[in-house]
């Protein structure tokens, strides 16, 4: 017999009174805008990057619409230039680079190492304000007048000839770069100095290692972007001859400086994704990660060697043959650690008891799509092939497979995986599985034809193209419709879950990480106890026992 419960008061998000968490700790606007709680800062960032994701996505929609017709009916040449420039700048600097580190990194990293806060909480808040200011400046530059140089700002076009808001955009990105640097310094110090008792380096979850590696890259690469943008700024604004060949300057020097940052930047965009995928695959396959040490070394090797391959973006720019050789060789070398990681994720799945939950579907999508993107990178690393394929749609497909098929899939994997922890709500699993599968199909439909277009010779950044390329372009645009749906749909069911979703238990996935041993959503101080780590991570099944011999027991990383 059930006893009728009197209706009781709830606060926003249907929280029961008396149930405290970081969400209830202060409900005014100022308690959010002035917070030093890493979890709240993560949410502040999440709002920002979501906005920028859909802004960049709107530009992508415009591009795919335009490319349905070979004659370029909707946009003029100039408008098209401004559209793909907006898409590139927003997606790279205001979505992909911050996405996982500032949201999941900020939220989960301190918790998964057993800390109560990051090392420099006020700098953390300051980094968000830098992101907002830089974002606003760039937003105005791109939407009111636009920039037509492409996200790569090549000189001398950007410095001497472009009639667009290069200065304002450069200033905005410059400011945002410092947000990256601040986050990186914070994370590195946090991991070095605030690990819980017993949390040795080789017991860190791979997500923590990924945050460490990405922070190293952010800290060491971003300053070079800053000086590069500053040099473009002073040349364009004050006429100081830096890259201008008429005064002895070298436009290729710009490319060296730009790509010294921008190649490691792609590792900034992929290392966090790899960290997320390791967490999700281990949990949803109920297996320890195969080759944990090699996974760590692989990420560190990617972070370091990633700084030595930038010239592969310049094979046809006028680099010497010797430099081409060196960069090509090192680009092949850097494929090795990535391949090790793909093998190890596969090895983790072997003899696992796989749950095809939404996070797992997204993570598996990452592994497949990242592999295709990575393999096509090897084609491009080979100089003779690159001469043919450079600046074609093959390159476009290659990096979208990694950035979108890879990193965005992983972002959605992590978003769904940690959603119960962050919000205290469960999202509707069937809808999410549907979105994940739709994304996989939509993505391939959009971008696989672009590999073929590239091989057949269609150049990138063109909206006028020969008739023979239309069929594949239309296919790609149709795929984009499906992909757009797959991105928009989660907005709805995730928002719905905030108000009507089932309450999440502490550990809905039965995961081993420290963040799962505390409440969902967590208290402000993260833990109600002092974490004391006694075991390696991913203890999903006891050693020496195949999964079918034991029940679903596991060893969490706390007593």
């Amino acid at each position: 017999m059930t006893v009728a419960q009197p209706p009781h008061e709830t606060t926003l998000l249907g929280r029961d009174l008396g149930e405290e968490s970081y969400l209830t700790d202060g409900t005014t606007l100022m308690s959010w805008l002035g917070t030093t709680d890493h979890k709240r800062i993560a949410i502040l960032y999440a709002v920002g990057i979501t906005f920028f994701f859909f802004l960049g996505g709107a530009a992508a929609t415009l591009i795919r619409l335009e490319l349905i017709s070979p004659a370029g009916r909707m946009l003029t040449n100039d408008e098209y230039n401004r559209t793909f420039t907006l898409h590139g700048i927003i997606m790279v600097w205001f979505f992909l680079v911050p996405s996982i580190p500032t949201t999941m990194g900020n939220f989960v990293l301190p918790m998964c190492i057993g800390a109560r806060e990051v090392a420099f909480p006020r700098i953390n808040l300051f980094s968000w304000y830098l992101f907002v200011v830089g974002g606003l400046l760039t937003f105005f530059a791109l939407l009111f007048g636009g920039v037509d140089t492409g996200w790569t700002f090549y000189t001398p076009f950007s410095t001497n000839y472009s009639n667009s808001n290069v200065l304002l955009a450069a200033a905005g990105i410059f400011v945002t770069g410092f947000s990256s640097i601040a986050t990186g310094i914070n994370f590195i110090t946090t991991i070095h100095m605030l690990r819980a008792k017993g949390m040795t380096w080789m017991r860190l979850p791979l997500f923590a290692w990924a945050m460490y590696a990405v922070s190293l890259v952010m800290v060491l690469a971003t300053p070079v972007l800053a000086i590069t943008l500053l040099l473009v700024f002073v040349e364009r604004a004050f006429g100081l001859p830096i890259f201008d060949p008429r005064f002895g300057g070298d436009p290729i020097l710009f490319q060296h400086l730009f790509w010294f940052y921008s190649h490691p930047a792609v590792y900034i965009m992929v290392l966090p994704a790899m960290g997320v995928v390791s967490e999700v695959i281990a949990c949803e396959a109920r297996r320890r990660v195969f080759g944990y040490e090699f996974m760590v070394y692989a990420m560190l090797m990617i972070a370091v060697v990633g700084f030595m391959v930038w010239g592969h973006h310049m094979f046809v720019s006028g680099e010497s043959q010797f430099a081409n050789l060196v960069f090509s060789f090192l680009s092949f070398v850097i494929a090795v650690p990535s391949a090790i990681k793909v093998f190890n994720w596969t090895g983790t799945l072997y003899r696992g008891q796989i749950r095809f939950s939404a996070p797992m579907l997204y993570a598996l999508g990452f592994v497949g799509l990242f592999t295709i993107g990575g393999l096509t990178g090897l084609f491009l690393a080979s100089v003779p092939l690159d001469i043919d394929l450079t600046d074609t749609y093959f390159v476009v497909a290659h990096f979208h497979y990694i950035m979108v098929g890879g990193s965005v899939s992983a972002f959605f994997a992590g978003l769904h995986f940690w959603w119960p922890k962050i919000t205290g709500r469960l999202y509707p699993e069937r809808f999410a599985q549907f979105a994940a599968i739709t994304m996989f199909f939509g993505f391939n439909f959009t971008f696989f034809p672009q590999f073929i277009l590239g091989i057949e010779g269609m150049p990138r950044r063109y909206h006028l193209y020969p008739q023979q390329f239309q069929a594949l372009n239309v296919t790609s645009s149709l795929g984009a419709v499906v992909l757009a749906f797959a991105y928009l749909f989660p907005l709805f069911y995730l928002a719905w879950s905030l108000f009507r979703g089932e309450r999440a238990p502490n550990n809905p996935w039965d995961a081993t990480g420290l963040e799962w041993q505390t409440r969902s959503p967590p208290p402000t101080r993260n833990f109600d106890f002092d974490p004391d780590v006694r075991a390696a991570p991913y203890g999903y099944h006891p050693e020496h026992n195949a999964p079918h011999e034991v029940s679903q027991t596991h060893e969490p990383q706390t007593p």
């Binding site: 070095h192 060491l220 070079v224 290729i252 020097l253 060296h256 400086l257 010294f260 700084f307 030595m308 930038w310 010239g311 006028g318 680099e319 010497s320 043959q321 010797f322 430099a323 060196v326 960069f327």
Partner: protein
């Protein structure tokens, strides 16, 4: 103040400063010596020596934990990647 404190607070920095001033004089004079060899290299080397004095003594890198010393070298090591590979291109064109 105690002599030990005076040494730590005033005299040690003063000695470093004196070293810096001497190096400044040396580098300026060397630059103007009519037929002195490898001037650019020497002047840069003296500049680096001054920077090391500041880093090791003023900034107390000598006394610091090895973690901090590692952090201090990271920037220079990474900047060297930038220089070496860019010049690998420039010198072989």
């Amino acid at each position: 103040m105690k002599p030990e404190t005076r040494r730590r607070v005033i005299l040690a920095p003063l000695a470093t400063w004196a070293g810096l001033m001497v190096l400044l004089a040396v580098t300026a004079l060397y630059a103007y010596l009519p037929s002195a060899p490898i001037k650019p290299e020497v002047s840069l080397a003296i500049g680096i020596a001054k920077a090391l004095l500041i880093a090791l003594f003023f900034m107390q890198l000598r006394k610091n934990a090895s973690l901090i010393r590692l952090a201090s070298m990271a920037g220079l090591v990474w900047a060297s990647f930038l220089f070496m590979l860019t010049f690998a291109d420039l010198l072989t064109r």
